[in-house]
Symmetry: C2
Subunit: 331 residues, 2 copies
DNA sequence: GTGAAAGCGCTAACAC
DNA sequence: GTGTTAGCGCTTTCAC
C-alpha cells in the first residue's frame, strides 16, 4: 500500500474536485454529468494509473463489500468447489472474498469468526465443524454480519444445502428397482446432519418398498472406515448390495469385496454419494449421487448479496454406474 | 460493518484517551504503561466487546497486513494445499489472506491482479497461468506490492518451487535400478516449466545411465491424455515401463495397460508424479514422487512476510509403490 | 505515562 | 453539474 496517487491528485490533474472524480468512479449521476468532464476524468485516471484504495472506501462507506467463507478444509474438493461458487458471484458483484479454513478445529473456527468480524465482512458463508457456537454467531448477526450456513443444517440459521434425504431415497429406490433386496448401509458420523439425512433417505425408501435393511453400521467418511465396516458386514451376512454414505467409503467397500473374492457388481452392488470426479478412475464406475457443491456456494453467496433470508435445498443427481449393474435392468 | 463501539467509546468508558487504548491494542509501550491503566482498558474492551475496525487500521497504517494468493484453480488439490500453506503462516502473523482463482484464464488473472492492487495487499503468492504479463507484475512491484511466484519459474521473479528436475531424475534412476530398461515417458505440456523440468530430469537420468528413452510423447496433465498416449506407445513398441509426468496420466496409463491385457507391474512398470492422496485407492499403489505443495505455500508466504528475495527449490520425496515392483529388487 | 491533534483516502450531505 | 465540508475509526507524532 505504498500508494502514491490519490483521488485528489486525479482531481487536480483533471481540474475538478475530488467529489466529481468519486462520482465518476461510482457511476453516480453519470447522466447529469457533462460528458466532457467525465471523459477528462477517465483519461486522467488512466494516465495516472489511479486505483482507489479499498480501505478508505470501506471506512467511509461503512461497508466492506467483502464476503467471508469459513469452511473446515479447503483441500477437500467439495469445499473448494463450494468456495468457488461463492467467489464467482462475489466477484461479479465487485465483492472480495475472504477464505478461511478452520482445519476442522472449533478453536480456529471461533478465531476466524472473530477475524471476519474485525474485517467487517458483510456476510459469511459458514460450513461449521459440528455444532457451531450459536452465541458467537449471534454476536456477528447483532453487529450486522449476515451468516448463511451451507451444506448442513443448523437450527435457527438460514441454510443452503443439498437434498440429501431425497437423493439418498432415490438412490435406494434405484437399487431396489434393479432387484437388490439385501441392502446394507454404511452411514457417516451422526453429528453431521448430512450423514443423518442420507441415512434417513435410505430408511425411507426401504420402508416404502416394504424392505428391511440388511444392516446399518456407522463409520467415518473415510476410505478405511468404508473398508473395515464392509468387511464386518460381509463376514456376518449375505448381502446383495452396500450403499455407503459417501464415495470414499464406497470405494473402501469395493476393495473389501474384492479382497474377499467377491466381484462387483456381479456378486455385490455398491453405491456411494458425492460424485467425486476421481471416482471415475475406479472401475467399474461408481453408482453415486452428485451433490451440487458449486451451486450451493453460488446460492449461499447470492443470498448474502441480495439479503434474502430464505433457506434452500438443492436437488441432487443420481449418477448410475457399473457398480450396480447386475440384475434385471431390462427386467 | 454496522460497528457500534469505536476506540473512543472504549477510551471514554475507561477514562483514558484513544491513544492509550491504541497503545494497549498494539502492545506498544506495554512496559512504560501503568499496569492498572492497562488492566482497566483491557477490562473495558472485554466488557464492551470491542473489535477494532481493520479498514481504519489499514488506512491509517498505510499497509493492509493482507496477502493475496492467485492460483489457477482452487479445486485442484495441489493448489488448495499450497493455499493452506500460505494461509497458515499469514494467520499466525495476523495477516489476512485473499484467495483468488483465475480459473486458468489470463483475463481473469489480470483482473485479479488489479483487484489485489486495489485491495492494497502487501504481497502476492502467484501461480501464473502460462507466461504472466510481466508489465502488470511490474506495475504491482512499482507500487510496493511484493510478488512471489510459486510452483513454477518465471524469469526475473523470485520463485519458490519444487525440485522437479531432481525428483524426476531420482525416479528414473530408481526404475533403472530396478532393472527397467525400455522406459517410455509421458510428458506434460511444454509451456509449463514443471512439465519441462520433469522431462529434463528423466532425460538426465537416462543419459547418465547410458540409456535411451523408448519413447517420449507430449500430452496434457489429464487421465484421458495418459490413457490415449499410453495406448499409442504400447501399440508401437515393447516397453518395460512408463513414467508419466503426473499421477493422473499415470493412472490413465495403468488403465490402458489393463485394457490391453498387460498386468501392472508384472508386464509393465508405471510411475507418476505428485502423490495425490487418492492414488492410494488405485491398486497396486502407484510409484510416484511427492511434491511438497503445503511447504511451498508456507515458504512463499514466509518470504512475503519477512521481505526475503531469495528463491527456493524444495526437495521432493520418492514414494515407491507396487506399480514398479517387478524385477531384481533383491538382486 | 498519557493526552491532543492531525490526517490516512475516500464519500456524501449540502451548498451554489 | 460541480465544489465544499465534514468526517468514517484509527494511529502517531509531539507535547506535557
Amino acid at each position: 500500500m505504498e500508494q502514491r496517487i490519490s483521488i485528489r491528485d486525479v482531481a487536480a490533474h483533471a481540474g475538478v474536485s475530488p467529489s466529481t472524480v468519486s462520482r465518476v468512479l461510482n457511476g453516480q449521476d453519470a447522466d447529469h454529468m457533462r460528458p466532457e468532464t467525465k471523459e477528462r476524468i477517465l483519461a486522467t485516471i488512466k494516465e495516472l494509473d489511479y486505483t482507489p484504495v479499498r480501505a478508505a472506501q470501506r471506512l467511509r462507506r461503512r461497508k466492506t463489500q467483502a464476503l467471508g467463507v469459513l469452511i473446515p478444509d479447503i483441500s477437500n474438493l467439495y469445499f473448494s468447489l463450494l468456495t468457488r461458487g461463492v467467489e464467482s458471484v462475489a466477484f461479479t458483484e465487485g465483492f472480495s472474498t475472504l477464505v478461511c479454513d478452520s482445519n476442522h478445529e472449533t478453536d480456529r473456527e471461533s478465531a476466524y469468526l472473530d477475524f471476519l468480524l474485525s474485517e467487517g465482512v458483510d456476510g459469511i458463508v459458514f460450513v461449521p465443524v459440528g455444532r457451531p457456537d450459536l452465541d458467537l454467531v449471534q454476536r456477528l448477526t447483532d453487529r450486522g454480519v449476515r451468516v448463511i450456513v451451507a451444506d448442513r443444517r443448523v437450527d435457527g440459521l438460514t441454510t443452503v444445502d443439498a437434498d440429501n434425504v431425497g437423493g439418498s431415497r432415490d438412490l435406494a429406490a434405484y437399487l431396489l428397482g434393479l432387484g437388490y433386496r439385501e441392502i446394507a448401509y454404511l452411514a457417516g458420523p451422526e453429528e453431521v446432519s448430512t450423514a443423518e439425512d442420507r441415512l434417513a433417505g435410505f430408511r425411507g425408501a426401504m420402508k416404502t418398498a416394504g424392505q428391511t435393511p440388511a444392516a446399518v453400521v456407522r463409520g467415518q467418511f473415510t476410505f478405511q472406515s468404508g473398508y473395515d465396516h464392509a468387511v464386518t458386514i460381509l463376514e456376518r451376512r449375505a448381502v446383495d448390495a452396500i450403499i455407503a454414505a459417501n464415495d470414499l467409503m464406497a470405494i473402501g467397500a469395493i476393495r473389501a469385496a474384492e479382497d474377499r473374492g467377491l466381484a462387483v457388481p456381479d456378486d455385490l452392488g455398491v453405491a456411494g454419494f458425492d460424485h467425486v470426479p476421481w471416482a471415475a478412475l475406479v472401475r467399474p464406475q461408481l453408482t453415486t449421487v452428485e451433490v451440487p457443491a458449486y451451486a450451493i456456494g453460488q446460492e449461499a453467496g447470492r443470498r448474502l448479496l441480495d439479503g434474502s433470508e430464505d433457506s434452500l435445498r438443492l436437488p441432487t443427481t443420481l449418477i448410475p454406474g457399473g457398480t450396480c449393474a447386475r440384475r434385471r435392468r431390462t427386467k
